[in-house]
């Protein structure tokens, strides 16, 4: 089980091999002993790899981490294994009503390309208006309810076209 760390857009695998007497990691078949691991903090850091001290500076920026060493600055990230394993979000083809109500406004048409999080339909329920959002990037296959129509809880209101690999 390795970690996928990206450096300037390219993903690399880094595995933990052993921990004592020092952490040993493996990258593309090359083993490195990390005898001093620094801290998680931003700022100047010193670590020791295979007996050599490495000075670098790091800053966290949200999910990214900027690392500056040897006179170069790199942008890195770590792939969350859950989202990586979850893949393209297949199975998120149906947008269902969270509760019974009626459609206030349909914002899209079949065939429209939508982005994850985009509002597809506004519904009203218990005197509250809610937006039904696209669960993933995709294309609208069908809108099963029109403005003014009622629906029950869990009814499918919008159907997206089946996600293809790589979507």
């Amino acid at each position: 089980m390795g970690f996928k760390v990206s450096v300037d857009g390219r993903s690399h695998d880094i595995e933990i091999v052993s921990r004592r007497p020092h952490l040993i990691v493996r990258i593309e078949g090359r083993d490195h002993e990390v005898s001093a691991a620094g801290t998680l903090d931003d700022g100047r850091q010193t670590i020791e790899i295979s007996g050599a001290l490495l000075h670098f500076t790091r800053a966290h920026a949200g999910d990214r981490q900027i690392v500056r060493l040897n006179g170069r600055t790199f942008e890195t990230g770590i792939l969350d294994p859950r989202s990586q394993a979850a893949g393209a979000g297949g199975g998120l083809d149906h947008v269902r009503a969270p509760m019974p109500g009626c459609v206030v406004c349909v914002h899209k048409r079949p065939g429209d390309q939508v982005a994850r999080g985009e509002t597809l339909v506004t519904i009203e329920s218990m005197k509250l208006q809610t937006a039904l959002l696209a669960p993933r990037d995709g294309r609208i296959a069908e809108l099963l309810r029109q403005t003014g129509e009622n629906f029950e809880k869990d009814e499918v209101i919008v159907r997206l076209e089946a996600a293809m690999d790589g979507d």
Binding site: M1, G2, E15, I16, V17, S18, R19, P81, R82, A85, A86, G87, G89, G90, G91, D154
Partner: protein, 535 residues
């Protein structure tokens, strides 16, 4: 603590002979284990792959933290049962580390008859949960089973310690505050549905995972209702409608990662303090054990030589070194943990029984876990010893051992016969872990002895009815008895029946004990106290 000074000559003919013999036994064991773990009909592997499923051991490897050990238990369960149809009893159980926490991992093996539970499967799962309860170890279930193996249902279903015990244990574990996570990779049918049902957390894989008390065929037969697996018990239904399952996953990988994240939320246990120092490798090479164990069970050897190749730095503080020489007692460290070791150098006499009882009391007083290295043919018998009270003295040792509140671990190194098994913490005495070596034999008495005894009984019978002494008959009795015992004495038979928690290569003993002792410290010590010692 001083190091044990080894008296073994690694170049002697005896040593070389033993070594060849034991290495062959170890090799044979590993081959059997490999086959039980990995050999499967190609058809079953292909079916699994077509379903998009991983093999159970792959799932376990992804679940465990990288670079950490995994102590697998009872890898050869059911190896001499069911015509070999259920390798490892269709179940994988072990102690490993997930997200930095010690857990019991228990997995169904869908590559064997769809993961159906044989009687020994149920026994193995119950044992796994017993271990979880005794040591307060959280459990991760990797569920993928077709349910009970119907042809043998009477041995799987009805009795007290059969399948129902699994669910009872799950409930008690939960009551104890010991967490369980179930990852549903395949079908959890009928009773099997209760595993995720009774787990505190569960994750279900969309498309392949399903939980239902009755599958579609049963439903159709019972009520005529026609329903698909997904509709009846699939991930989306259970995670959004019934609430039976907590997290849907779109792949096995995702389910495992969710599982790891769940375990990462669990609070780290407060571990019981047992004296711990920096570990040290034994001063003598553990591989030398192969040359020390004799190739004949009747031959004697000094257990101190074995101790020296298991404990830290080979350091041993022997207790009462000059008294009760047939039982070696003393303190040592294993992976840094202070333990009290009791090891047999012959039969138990009065003095060695008393010494054993006293030493066990010292260890309980000191909160020191006990490690029993068994090589025992029994207690000494005979008039002189009975007059001296060998029965009482043996009883005192059994009393002290049974009532111990510290964790106990037993390694059966060579032989475990008769009452000696009892005093030295055999299966019935709730040791946290019991492991055997491939050369080990266990029975109420040895094969030869049994054959001799039964032949004598036959002879007496013939004499009593005044029949002619039929030597052929006597030989037959002798042969058959010996053969039957031979089969049932072996470590393989014992492990097949789950009379132990697994056969291990002797050189793996130190790591196994280190992991086991560490796991045992998750449970607080019991209440101190003993029954009545017959003095």
């Amino acid at each position: 603590m001083r190091r044990i000074q080894s008296m073994v000559s690694t170049s002697s003919a005896d040593f070389r002979c033993n070594e060849a013999h034991n290495r062959a036994l170890a090799r044979a064991f590993r081959e059997k284990q490999e086959a039980a773990r990995h050999l499967r009909p190609q058809r079953d592997l292909e079916r699994l792959a077509k379903q998009g499923k991983m093999r159970p051991r792959e799932r376990i490897e992804k679940l465990l933290d990288p670079g950490t050990p995994f102590l697998e238990l009872s890898s050869l369960a059911a190896n001499m049962a069911y015509g070999g149809e259920s390798p490892s009893a269709s179940s994988i159980v072990g102690i490993g580390v997930v997200s930095g926490r010690e857990v019991i991992v228990r997995a169904d093996d869908p590559t064997i008859k769809g993961g159906a539970w044989y009687p020994l499967t149920a026994k193995k799962i119950v044992r796994a949960l017993d271990i979880a309860m005794e040591n307060r170890l959280p459990v991760v279930h990797l569920c993928d089973s077709a349910g009970g193996f119907l042809p043998l249902q009477s041995d799987v279903f009805p009795d007290r310690h059969m399948a129902g015990r699994i669910f009872r244990n799950q409930s008690i574990l939960s009551k104890m505050g010991v967490k369980q996570l179930a990852l549903v990779f395949g079908h959890c049918t009928a009773g099997g549905a209760y595993i995720p049902g009774l787990s505190d957390y569960n994750v279900i894989v969309r498309g392949t995972g399903a939980v239902f008390l009755g599958g579609p065929p049963l439903v159709r037969a019972a009520t005529g209702e026609d329903v698909t697996v997904e509709e009846l018990g699939g991930a989306d239904m259970h995670t959004s409608v019934s609430g039976t399952c907590d997290y849907p996953a779109s792949s096995e990988d995702e389910a495992i990662h969710i599982g790891r994240e769940i375990v990462a939320q669990w609070d780290r246990p407060r571990k019981w303090d047992c004296q711990r120092e920096a570990p040290e490798d034994p001063a003598y090479d553990p591989q030398e054990i192969y040359g020390i164990l004799p190739d004949d069970i009747k031959k004697q050897f000094d257990m101190r030589e074995i101790i020296a190749r298991i404990v830290d730095g080979s350091r041993f503080h022997e207790y009462q070194p000059n008294y009760g020489g047939t039982l070696v007692c003393g303190f040592a460290n294993i992976w840094g943990f202070k333990v009290g070791v009791l090891a047999n150098n012959g039969v138990l006499f009065n003095d060695s029984s008393l010494k054993g009882a006293h030493f066990i009391e010292l260890c309980n007083q000191n909160n020191t876990p006990l490690v029993f290295l068994q090589n025992i043919t029994g207690y000494m018998i005979g008039r002189e010893y009975e007059r001296r009270g060998i029965t009482k003295d043996g009883a005192k040792m059994i009393m002290a051992q049974s009532c111990s509140h510290v964790p106990k671990f037993t390694i059966m190194c060579n032989g475990s016969f008769g009452a000696g098994n009892y005093g030295m913490c055999g299966r019935a005495f709730d040791g946290r872990l019991l492991l055997t070596w491939p050369n080990h034999q266990i029975g109420v008495m040895g094969g030869d002895q049994a054959a001799n005894t039964l032949t004598e009984v036959k002879l007496n019978q013939m004499k009593r009815i005044g029949a002619e002494i039929d030597q052929g008959e006597l030989d037959r009795v002798w042969e058959e008895t010996r053969k039957a015992y031979q089969e049932q004495l072996s470590a393989y038979y014992s492990t097949s029946e789950l009379w132990d928690d697994g056969i291990i290569d002797p050189v793996d003993t130190r790591n196994a004990l280190g992991i086991a002792i560490s796991a045992s410290l998750n449970a607080p010590p019991g209440e101190a106290g003993y029954g009545v010692f017959r003095f």
